[in-house]
């Protein structure tokens, strides 16, 4: 396997239908991200496919189920699974979420909100410490989508900056999540991005969203099942202007378009990076 390469430019989330065209090299895509949990299997074709992807492209592992801010430290068996994959595939980036998802042995299969309190901050930092210690790597932590305001002692950038300071982790800025939190909870999206510790941001995500079936535009859901909206593209431009070039990932997890269509959307992300005055050739890959 080639030496670990830091991703640059605009990559996509690698879903199963995209594996074959990615391996066929039909369209240049500089890197891919996978959900770590989808590869926690004993063997078989899925791991073989990932091996072949990794031989050609930088990879990022994006965890969705470690429950870093949960009532108990992350499940040691889960961490062992992550470590096995990290050791085998040597991903360039490893990331997780500033949320909880498990309690008393039940995995709730969603990114559940944490109240932004000192107590929750300690739990989250403790979970991140466990994770980083287990895999022997620094990870990036993604900001959640907020659907309603919870009683909190600090705002989210403050909460995330502090957890990065305490644990040494980096941040994964999901621009769409910021946009949705702003729309759902009435915060200022640009002020949020401005308040994040720019040096800690190691990756950016963008994705599509949909209006809730019952509440309509009053409640926007982070479904990753639609093209990126114009409002999110605008906010991405703002974020890139503030932060400079970062590995940028286009996520799509539902209502998957064909590979070509997704690549067209990826090219727009590439263009957003390429027009930054500070972007070098390497930054836009």
């Amino acid at each position: 396997m080639p030496k670990e390469r830091t991703p640059s430019g605009a990559g996509i989330g690698l879903k199963q239908p995209y594996v074959a065209p990615a391996l066929a090299g039909a369209e240049a895509c500089p890197w891919f991200e996978v959900h770590t949990e989808n590869y926690m299997v004993a063997g078989g074709p899925r791991l073989d496919q990932l091996t072949r992807i990794r031989e050609r492209y930088p990879l990022s592992f994006h965890g969705v189920g470690a429950s870093l801010g949960g009532p108990a430290p992350p499940d040691p068996r889960h961490l062992e699974g992550v470590k096995r994959l990290v050791d085998e595939f040597e991903p360039a980036l490893v990331s997780e979420h500033a949320v909880w998802s498990s309690a008393k042995g039940v995995y709730f299969a969603d990114l559940l909100p944490l109240p932004r309190t000192e107590d929750a901050l300690r739990r989250l930092a403790d979970g991140i410490d466990h994770y980083q210690d287990a895999i022997g790597r620094r990870i990036l932590i993604e900001n959640p989508t907020n659907y309603l305001p919870f009683v909190s002692e600090m705002d989210e950038p403050e909460f995330l900056n502090e957890v990065a300071r305490r644990t040494g982790c980096g941040l994964l800025l999901d621009v769409s999540n910021v946009y949705l939190s702003a729309r759902n909870c009435g915060i200022d999206a640009r002020a949020y991005i401005d308040a994040l510790s720019a040096d800690d941001v190691g990756e950016i995500h963008i994705a599509g969203f949909e209006a809730d079936a019952n509440f309509g535009e009053r409640l926007l859901i982070d479904t990753h099942a639609a093209p990126v909206s114009e409002a999110v593209w605008d906010l991405l431009d703002f974020a890139l202007a503030q932060l400079g070039p970062r590995p940028l990932l286009l996520e799509r997890d539902g209502k998957l378009p064909d590979f070509e269509t997704l690549m067209e959307e990826r090219r727009r992300a590439h263009t957003a990076l390429a027009r930054l005055p500070s972007a070098s050739e390497r930054d836009i890959a």
Binding site: E37, N38, M40, V41, A42, G43, G44, P45, R46, D48, V64, G65, A66, S67, G70, P71, D75, R77, H78, G81, W100, S101, S102, A103, K104, G105, V106, Y107, F108, A109, D110, L111, L112, P113, P115, T117, D119, A120, R123, Y147, L148, P149, F150, V151, S152, N184, D212, N214, F215, L219, I221
Partner: protein, 258 residues
Amino acid sequence: MLDAYYDSFSRFLRDGTPDALADYCGDKAELAYLHVYRNGFLKTCTDVLRSNYSSVHQLVGEACFTAVAHRYVQANPPRTASLVTYGDDFAQLIEATRDLHGLAYLACIAKLDRTWTELYFAEDAETPDAGALAGMSAETLMALRCRLAPNAQLVSLDFSALEAWARLRQGALRTQMEIRRSPLQILMWRWDGDILFRALDVAEHAFIAGLAAGHACAEAALAATELDATFDVAAGLASLLRDRMLIFETQHPSGGTR
């Protein structure tokens, strides 16, 4: 305070009652928005079950499948964060919820879907090929003990549902098929990334089941030939080895155990 929050949220996700979370929400009027999380939990689990039991889903349709799946998630929520193989006892729930779907054979279809998933993600084991039998004396062969490799399983069905299931997997079940209550033994295995299967006659099933249970080849062969005197033990063994389905448990003539 935080532990009470986790407890209240967990209860809400299980039973859908958000009232205990009111103290944690900044705006009580927005408490209804919490259903996003419960919907997300149920949707993710249902999506995984739909993917892992695609033949069942095709047979019963979306509304019925969702009703059964939600009942399953309530009774058997995920215990690990990797949902790749979630739903291990879905066939049992299907058997117990015939009132929802009305299909006596549906649990057999679920069992086949389940076996497919387990084999697809099974460990890649080192398995000897048919050449391993070359030069083996009859005595050594008869004393040989094997087991099925992780990429192979026997499946017992109460209904003749294999052909219908195979067509469902290919998206090619377009006409009505008769599915009779009739015991059926199947061998399913993974070969070069594909899942293959075939129905077994009683002798071959007895032979493979004997090997899988850890019996010596001679005992497994005896069980088979009692059912069918013409059963060819060497050919049966060679076939299993050719498709890389066996692991030797006893000393292999070429050296160490495999």
